[in-house]
C-alpha cells in the first residue's frame, strides 16, 4: 500500500485537491465523491493510492470493476465499463470511474444518459446499432431463452420501429429519438451507489 499512515488523512488531502472540480463536472456531492473514492480504493487497495495530490495515472482493469455488486448482475456490465474507459478496453481511472457513476446517477439528464446508453449498446463501436448489436443485447437480456427465429423477429421489429432514415441500422439520432420518449428509460438507466 502506497498510502502510508492514517488513510483518512490522505483522503482528506485528496478531497482538498480534486473533489471540487469533480463536483462541478459530475452530479455528485463532495461526500459522494469521497465515498466513491473509498469504493474505488477498496477494489484494489494495492493499486490505488490514497494520495491524489499529483494526479497519479492509475487505472483499474475491467475485471475488477465488473465485480462491484452494483454492476455484477448487470448483463451489460462489461459494456458499461468499456464505454466509459478512454482506451475502450475497460481500464478506468478514478476520474472515469466517477464519470461513469455520475452519468448513471439519478441526477443526470436524459440526453446525457442517452448518449452513453447508445455507446453501451453499440458493441462493435461503429457508431451504429446494427442488427448484430441488437442480437447481442437481446441475448444478454433474455439469457438466450428465445429461439433464433424469435430473436430475428424482435431485432427486425426493433430496427423497423426506430429507424427513421431507412438504413436498417440505428444511428444515434434514431436511438435518441426513440429513447427520449421511452417512459422508463430514466428510471431504469440508473445505478444507485
Amino acid at each position: 500500500m502506497r498510502g502510508r499512515g492514517r488513510p483518512w488523512d490522505k483522503l482528506l488531502h485528496y478531497s482538498l485537491c480534486n473533489v471540487t472540480g469533480q463536483q462541478d463536472c459530475t452530479f455528485f456531492t463532495r461526500k459522494e465523491i469521497l465515498r466513491l473514492h473509498a469504493r474505488y480504493h477498496e477494489l484494489a487497495p494495492h493499486l490505488v493510492p490514497m494520495d491524489y495530490t499529483n494526479d497519479p495515472d492509475c487505472k483499474l482493469p475491467l475485471a475488477l470493476i465488473v465485480n462491484m455488486p452494483e454492476l455484477k448482475e448487470n448483463p451489460f456490465c462489461s459494456r458499461i465499463v468499456e464505454s466509459f474507459s478512454e482506451d475502450g478496453m475497460g481500464n478506468l481511472s478514478f476520474n472515469e470511474f466517477v464519470d461513469m457513476f455520475s452519468v448513471l446517477s439519478e441526477m443526470a439528464p436524459r440526453e446525457l444518459k442517452a448518449i452513453y446508453a447508445f455507446k453501451i449498446y453499440d458493441y462493435n463501436v461503429d457508431n451504429f446499432l446494427c442488427k448484430e448489436d441488437l442480437e447481442k443485447t437481446l441475448n444478454k437480456l433474455t439469457k438466450e431463452e428465445l429461439t433464433p427465429e424469435e430473436v430475428q423477429l424482435v431485432c427486425e421489429k426493433a430496427i423497423e420501429e426506430a429507424d427513421l432514415d431507412g438504413d436498417h441500422k440505428l444511428s444515434f439520432a434514431d436511438f435518441e429519438n426513440m429513447i427520449t420518449r421511452a417512459p422508463d428509460f430514466l428510471s431504469t438507466f440508473h445505478i444507485r451507489i
Binding site: F27, E73, T137, L141, V154, M178
Partner: protein, 874 residues
C-alpha cells in the same frame, strides 16, 4: 450593490458595472472561498498586477480616454460624477487601497465604458510586460486575455465607426461572455466529454469567471439567491424522498413483480386488481368500523340490556354451538356484526353520537365512495390508455433498451428480471404474430358467429333452467315433506351451472381463434352474464323471504297493539320481563345480512378449497406420481394447472357485489371481506407460484384494467339497486336496528334536519326537494353532460390532428447528429453580433439571446463550443 442585468443595461449603469468589475477581481476569492483554486490564482494575479500597475495605470487610462472616449463622455456627465464618488469612497479605505489596486486602476478610468475598454487594453499590455516576471502559466493566461481583449476591441472600434454609441457593447459582450462561461460551468456535467477534458475546460471557465465575475455581481441579492437555490434543492429532495416513501408504502410490490416475471402481465393484472380492491375495502372498513361499529361497542348499551341485544330464551341452549355459530345464528346473530343489534336511540354516549344517522350515512357513503373511486380509477386508466397509441410505435425497441433495470444488484432479482423480460418479449411476439396473421377471413367470421350462437344458446338454456328451478322452489316452499335434493335444488343447479358452463364457453371460444387478450374479455363477459342470472335469482328468493317476514311483522304488531290495549284496560302494570323473553318480530334486515355473510363465507371456503384441491393436490400428484406412472403426467393429460384469470377476476367482482349489498345489513361483512382479501393475496400468490404453470401463450394484459373496472362498475350499479330499493320503500323492522320505530329508513335524515339544524335550513331542504327544482336541476345536468361530452370529442379530434402533424415531420429524418450543425450556428452568431446594432444608440432592445462571437481565452476560433461538438467522443 446593484444588480445588473443585460436587459436594463444602459449608459448610466455601465459605469457602475465597470466599477464593480474592478472590485470583483479582488473580491472573488474572499467572497466565494469555494470557488476553487482557479479563483485563488485569479485573485492573486489581479493583486499582483494591481500593485505594480495601480498608479501608472490611472494615468495611462486618462490619457487614453481623452481622444477616444470624449464623444461619449460628453453625453454622460452625471455618470462620470458617480464614478468619481466611488473613487472617493474607496479612497477612505486606505489600508485596502493597495489590495484593490486593480479595482482602482479601473475605477480611475471608469467614467465611461470606453475607458474601461482602455483599461482593459492597458491591462493586457501590462500583462505582456509583466509576463516574464510572473509564472509561465499566468503569462499564458494574460496572453489569452489579451487576445480576447483585442478581439473585443476590434469589434468595438468597428462599432464606434458605425454607430454613435454602441458604447455599452463591450460591457455587454463581457457580460455575455461571463454568462456563457458560467453557463458552461453549470452545465459542464451534462457534456458527454471525457472527464479529463471536462476538468480542464472547467478550470479555464472558472478562471475567466473569477476574473470578470464582478460584472454579474448579484450584490446583496446573492445571498438571498443562494438561499433560494438551496431551498429549492432541499424541496426537490424532499419531494423525491416523499415519493420514495409513498411507493414504499404500496404493499406486495415484490410479490406481484415475482408473479409478473413468471406468469406475464395478464396474471399480474389480477393481483393488481386484488390489491386495488383491498385498498378500497380498507377505506370502506375504516368508515364502517370507525363510524358505526366502534361507537356502538364503546358507547351503546351492552349485550343483554334490551331485547334486540339478547338471544331469545328459546335459542339460548344452542346459541353457543359451533354449527349454529357457523350459520351466524345464536350469539353471532345478536352481535354488533348485524343490523338488528343497533339501538334506535337518537344519540348515544357522552359525545351524543347520532348513531342511526351515522349508520344511514355510512351505508350511503359506502356506495358513494365506491362509485367515485371506481369511476376515478377508470378515468385515470383511460388516460393511460390514451398513451397506448404512442407506445405501439416502439414496443420492441423500448423493451430492448429500457427493460433492464440497472438498479438490480441482487442475483435473485436479476433472475426474476431475466424471466420477466423473456416473458414480456414473448408477449409482444404473440401480439406481433397476431398482427401478421392473415387467413381465410370468411371462415373465421363464420366460426365466430357460430360460436356466439352456441354460447347464446347455452346462456339462454341456463337462464331458463334457473327460472324453472326458482319457480319450482316457490312451489316447494309451501310443502313440508321435502327430500334433501328438493330442499337444495336451487343451490345444486346453480353450482353445477357455474362448474360446467365456463369450461364449455372456453371450449367454444377455441372456435373463434381470438388473440388471448380479447378471448379473455369475451370469456369474462360471458361468464359474467351467467353469474348475473345466478345473483339475481338469489336476490329474488331473498325478496320473497323479506316479503313474508314483513307480513309476519304486521301480525306481531297487531298482537302488540292488542296486548297494550289489554294492559291499559285492566290497568295492571305488566310484570317485569327478562329481555330474553320478550316477543319479537322477525328482523328481516338481520336475516338478509346473515344470508350475505353466509354466502361470502361459503364463497371463501369454496374458492380456497378449489385452489387447495384443484391446483395444489393436482400439482403434488403430477409431480410425485410422475416417477411411477405409465405416461408423462407433467407433459401429458393432467399436467399442472394454469392460473384461471377470468374465474378469479369474476369471483372477486361478484364477491365485491355481495359486500356492497350486504354491508348495509351486516356492518361486520366489510371486516370479513378485508380479511378475505388480505389472506387471499398471500394464499393465491403462494399457490400461483408453487402450483401453476404459465399460460401456453403468455399474453400482455391491456395496459388499463378498465375492463375489470367496467365489470365492477356494473356490479356496483346492480347491487346499488336492491339496497336503495329497501332503504326507500320497505318499512324497517319495528323492534330491531337503528331505524326501528320509523316508517322509512331515511326518516332519520328528516328528523335530524328538523331537530338539529336551524329552521331555515329545514325550509331550504324542503324547497330543494321540490320537484319544480329537481327537474330543472336534472335537465341542467343532462345538458352539462352533453356539453362536456361534445367538448371532449372536439379535444380528441384536435389531439388526433396534432398527432398526425407530429408524425409527419418525424417520418423524415430532420434530426441531424448533434454537432454537424454546430459550425453553421456559430457562424451565424458571429455575423449577427459582429455587425453593429442597427438601432444605433439607445438601450439594447433585443433579448440577450444570441451569444457574442467572443472567442474565449484558450479557445481557438476553430473550436466549436457548447453541446454541438460533434459525435460523442469515445
Amino acid at each position: 450593490m446593484i444588480i445588473l442585468q443585460p436587459s436594463n443595461y444602459n449608459d448610466a449603469k455601465c459605469n457602475v458595472f465597470c466599477v464593480f468589475l474592478g472590485h470583483h477581481v479582488d473580491d472573488g476569492p474572499q467572497r466565494r472561498p469555494n470557488r476553487r483554486q482557479g479563483a485563488g490564482r485569479g485573485g492573486a494575479k489581479g493583486r499582483g498586477r494591481g500593485k505594480k500597475a495601480a498608479s501608472e495605470d490611472e494615468d495611462e487610462d486618462d490619457e487614453d480616454e481623452a481622444p477616444r472616449g470624449r464623444r461619449v463622455a460628453n453625453k454622460k456627465k452625471p455618470t462620470k460624477k458617480r464614478g468619481g464618488d466611488e473613487e472617493d469612497d474607496s479612497e477612505d479605505e486606505a489600508p485596502k487601497r493597495k489590495k484593490k489596486g486593480a479595482a482602482n486602476r479601473k475605477r480611475g478610468g471608469k467614467a465611461q465604458e470606453s475607458d474601461e475598454e482602455d483599461s482593459d487594453v492597458g491591462k493586457g499590455r501590462k500583462g505582456k510586460k509583466g509576463g516574464g516576471k510572473k509564472g509561465g502559466k499566468e503569462a499564458e493566461d494574460t496572453k489569452d486575455l489579451n487576445k480576447w481583449k483585442s478581439n473585443q476591441w476590434l469589434s468595438y472600434e468597428k462599432s464606434l465607426f458605425l454607430g454613435e454609441s454602441s458604447g455599452d457593447l463591450f460591457g455587454f459582450l463581457l457580460l455575455e461572455e461571463v454568462e456563457e462561461k458560467k453557463k458552461l460551468i453549470a452545465t459542464i456535467r451534462n457534456k458527454p466529454w471525457r472527464m479529463k477534458r471536462r476538468l480542464l475546460d472547467l478550470k479555464e471557465a472558472q478562471e475567466f469567471v473569477d476574473k470578470f465575475e464582478g460584472a454579474l455581481g448579484k450584490g446583496k441579492g446573492r445571498k438571498w439567491f443562494a438561499y433560494k437555490v438551496m431551498m429549492k434543492k432541499k424541496w426537490i429532495k424532499f419531494q423525491r424522498d416523499f415519493e420514495n416513501f409513498r411507493t414504499a408504502c404500496i404493499p406486495w410490490e415484490r410479490k406481484i413483480k415475482d408473479v409478473e416475471s413468471h406468469f406475464g402481465s395478464s396474471v399480474a393484472s389480477y393481483f393488481i386488481f386484488l390489491r386495488w380492491m383491498y385498498g378500497m375495502n380498507l377505506v370502506l372498513f375504516g368508515f364502517t368500523f370507525g363510524l358505526v361499529v366502534i361507537p356502538e361497542v364503546l358507547m351503546g348499551l351492552p349485550y343483554g340490556s334490551i331485547p334486540r341485544k339478547t338471544v331469545p330464551r328459546a335459542e339460548q341452549d344452542t346459541a353457543q354451538d359451533y354449527s349454529v355459530l357457523m350459520d351466524f345464528n345464536g350469539y353471532c346473530k345478536y352481535s354488533v356484526l348485524f343490523y338488528g343489534y343497533y339501538n334506535d336511540q337518537r344519540t348515544i354516549g357522552l359525545l351524543k353520537f347520532r348513531l342511526p344517522l351515522s349508520y344511514l350515512m355510512v351505508g350511503i357513503g359506502t356506495f358513494g365512495y365506491s362509485l367515485m373511486v371506481v369511476i376515478r380509477t377508470m378515468a385515470k386508466n383511460a388516460d393511460v390508455g390514451g398513451g397506448d397509441g404512442d407506445e405501439s410505435e416502439f414496443t420492441f425497441a423500448w423493451k430492448m433498451f429500457t427493460s433492464w433495470d440497472y438498479l438490480i444488484g441482487n442475483s435473485e432479482t436479476a433472475d426474476n428480471k431475466y424471466a420477466s423480460i423473456t416473458t414480456s418479449f414473448k408477449e409482444s411476439i404473440v401480439d406481433e404474430q397476431e398482427n401478421q396473421k392473415d387467413e381465410n377471413i370468411h371462415l373465421r367470421r363464420f366460426l365466430r358467429v357460430l360460436a356466439n350462437f352456441f354460447i347464446t344458446c347455452s346462456l339462454g338454456g341456463s337462464g331458463y333452467l334457473i327460472y324453472f328451478v326458482v319457480k319450482r322452489s316457490q312451489e316447494f316452499a309451501n310443502r313440508t315433506d321435502l327430500s334433501w335434493y328438493e330442499k337444495n335444488e336451487l343451490e345444486i343447479i346453480m353450482s353445477l351451472l357455474g362448474l360446467v358452463c365456463p369450461p364449455l364457453f372456453e371450449t367454444i371460444a377455441e372456435l373463434e381463434d381470438y388473440h388471448p387478450r380479447i378471448a379473455l374479455k369475451w370469456q369474462l363477459g360471458r361468464i359474467f352474464a351467467l353469474f348475473l342470472g345466478n345473483l339475481y335469482t338469489f336476490l329474488f328468493a331473498l325478496f320473497d323471504e323479506v316479503n313474508t317476514k314483513v307480513q309476519q311483522k304486521e301480525i306481531i304488531t297487531r298482537y302488540y297493539a292488542n296486548y297494550t290495549l289489554l294492559l291499559n284496560g285492566t290497568g295492571a302494570t305488566p310484570p317485569p320481563m327478562s329481555p330474553a323473553d320478550v316477543i319479537r318480530g322477525p328482523c328481516w334486515e338481520t336475516a338478509v345480512g346473515i344470508e350475505f355473510v353466509k354466502l361470502t363465507v361459503s364463497d371463501i371456503q369454496v374458492s380456497y378449497l378449489t385452489i387447495l384441491i384443484g391446483d395444489f393436490a393436482r400439482a403434488v400428484i403430477v409431480r410425485f406420481l410422475n416417477y411411477c406412472w405409465c405416461w408423462d403426467l407433467e407433459a401429458g393429460f393432467p399436467s399442472y394447472g394454469e392460473f384461471d384469470i377470468s374465474g378469479n377476476v369474476l369471483g372477486l367482482v361478484f364477491n365485491q357485489g355481495m359486500i356492497w349489498m350486504g354491508a348495509f345489513y351486516a356492518p361486520g361483512l366489510v371486516g370479513i371481506n378485508v380479511l378475505r382479501l388480505l389472506s387471499s393475496m398471500y394464499y393465491q400468490c403462494w399457490a400461483v407460484m408453487a402450483t401453476n404453470v404459465p399460460h401456453e401463450r403468455v399474453f400482455k394484459a391491456s395496459k388499463s384494467n378498465n375492463f375489470y373496472m367496467g365489470l365492477l362498475l356494473l356490479i356496483l350499479f346492480l347491487s346499488l339497486l336492491p339496497v336503495v330499493y329497501t332503504i326507500m320503500t320497505l318499512p324497517p323492522s319495528f323492534d330491531c336496528g337503528p331505524f326501528s320505530g320509523k316508517a322509512k329508513m331515511f326518516d332519520v335524515i328528516m328528523e335530524t334536519i328538523d331537530l338539529d339544524l336551524p329552521a331555515f335550513l329545514g325550509t331550504l331542504f324542503s324547497y330543494a326537494a321540490n320537484p319544480g327544482l329537481i327537474i330543472p336541476a336534472v335537465l341542467l345536468m343532462v345538458l352539462a353532460i352533453y356539453y362536456l361530452n361534445s367538448v371532449s370529442e372536439a379535444y380528441q379530434n384536435a389531439n388526433m390532428e396534432l398527432k398526425k402533424k407530429m408524425q409527419m415531420p418525424e417520418s423524415k429524418p430532420t434530426k441531424t447528429k448533434p454537432g454537424t450543425a454546430s459550425k453553421g450556428v456559430n457562424l451565424e452568431r458571429d455575423v449577427a453580433l459582429a455587425s453593429p446594432n442597427p438601432n444605433g444608440r439607445g438601450p439594447v432592445s433585443r433579448p440577450p439571446g444570441p451569444r457574442g462571437p467572443a472567442p474565449m481565452p484558450g479557445d481557438g476560433p476553430g473550436r466549436g463550443r457548447g453541446r454541438g461538438r460533434g459525435a460523442p467522443p469515445r
